[in-house]
Symmetry: C2
Subunit: 254 residues, 2 copies
């Protein structure tokens, strides 16, 4: 079993509170989504089914520790008694005076509070009915996940996943990982690319590719642009030398 | 049954391609996640189970139209033949020279391509095995969803939901909906708040609340700060007048 490693972020993590969840399977799937997003503290208010049942454990798919460490409360009041800042997730506006947060802003705000030493929680309501109005009033604000207005019903674990994902994005773990994968090779230097292109041009010259003198420069430019645009690696340059060598070979290799 | 309304964004929407999906239930759940995120075009390459089975329709939970309109292909090559820009989702680096996109950047890039009139698709691999290397090579880049490295396995529909959610965030539907909900009331004007505070101070003065003269101004400042900080509405001001009237009432109302 994997050990829960609490990342040393220098501040506490948010707590997820499921209020009156109905199905053990959903509780397990929420635990899985929390684990995906490096959130480990689960609280349950009046769960209808046992969160340690086989169904729940199996649905958690490797996140059983979160279920085992989860704490159960009789009322929401008790579950959030030690919290300083609580956001309630809702699918629709409730006509009450409250700050409504996009998940991105909600989690950024929560991170700010956490880094000030405040304890923070996100509330998720029951599968069908969501949170009741008095439970939303007990919160400091609302997270409204923007979805297709024609079809905004989300499974409980999907709501937890989206909020958790936005949390993760505020941390090092979820930040921009965009990059160019080099497959273990290095990007080619400009001179490697240039030498290759000169070699290619030479071979083409020999074959009469540039026989229309007035087009020669443009043809070279276009050709160079094809190969400089896509950030070749050193090993790809080697591949291309091999291609040209074989294309220019007079006899078939056997 | 709800009608699929294609939003008039002025450009086409991305296509989701499931490559060798195994379970009908998962296909249905992907359709539901797509509908949540206003993505409607689903293509299936060699699905093991029938995407129009009862299981799939039931799991789609109201997104049956997407399943009914889905098209099935024998090979990935056929499924993406008409596409200009394709991103493959993977859970782990594959050691090949490819652009790797965070979902946010991947969907922003895809939106840019779509708005140039390019057709775009996102590939999702089979439940256990993911996409094969040759399928990733056929793509223009990789989307890598950042997750807890200790537990990064995502259900197929959850991967589709996260990518779809990032798509939706690039459109009007998913943009910042943060606001202060007024519950049908208006924010109070400065003079409404000021008049209320003067009334409160008057009542407190009468009760001797400010009897320590040297603290009077600071007490008033602190009190004002409590009520000005939280953006009261006109109707909340009325509520507070009622509270003060009743607190200052000499006899119990019956």
């Amino acid at each position: 079993m994997k050990k829960i490693i609490t990342p040393s972020l220098g501040y506490a993590l948010p707590v997820f509170v499921l209020v009156r969840p109905q199905l053990a399977e959903n509780i397990g799937m929420v635990a899985r989504a929390m684990m995906n997003c490096a959130i480990y503290d689960l609280r349950l208010v009046c769960p209808r089914e046992n969160h340690l049942s086989d169904k729940a454990i199996s649905a958690s798919s490797g996140a059983a520790e979160i279920l085992e460490k989860a704490t159960v409360y009789k009322t929401l009041e008790e579950a959030i008694a030690d919290m300083h800042f609580v956001l309630a997730t809702t699918a629709r506006p409730r006509g009450m005076t409250k700050d409504v947060f996009h998940p991105t802003l909600g989690m950024a705000t929560m991170k700010e509070k956490l880094s000030q030493g405040q304890k923070c929680a996100v509330l998720f309501g029951a599968e069908r009915t969501g949170l009741e109005n008095h439970e939303i009033i007990a919160s400091d604000g609302i997270i409204e996940i923007p979805l297709n207005p024609l079809h905004s019903s989300l499974n409980l674990s999907q709501a937890a996943l989206l909020v958790g994902y936005e949390w993760l994005k505020t941390t090092q773990l979820g930040q921009d990982n965009s990059r160019n994968e080099m497959g273990g090779s290095h990007p080619a230097t400009k001179s490697e690319v240039d030498n290759f292109l000169k070699h290619l041009e030479n071979e083409l010259e020999l074959k009469g590719h540039f026989r229309f003198f007035d087009k020669k420069e443009r043809m070279k430019r276009n050709l160079r642009n094809i190969f400089t645009r896509n950030a070749l690696t050193s090993s790809e340059i080697k591949t291309l030398y091999g291609v040209i060598n074989d294309l220019t070979r007079k006899e078939k290799h056997d």
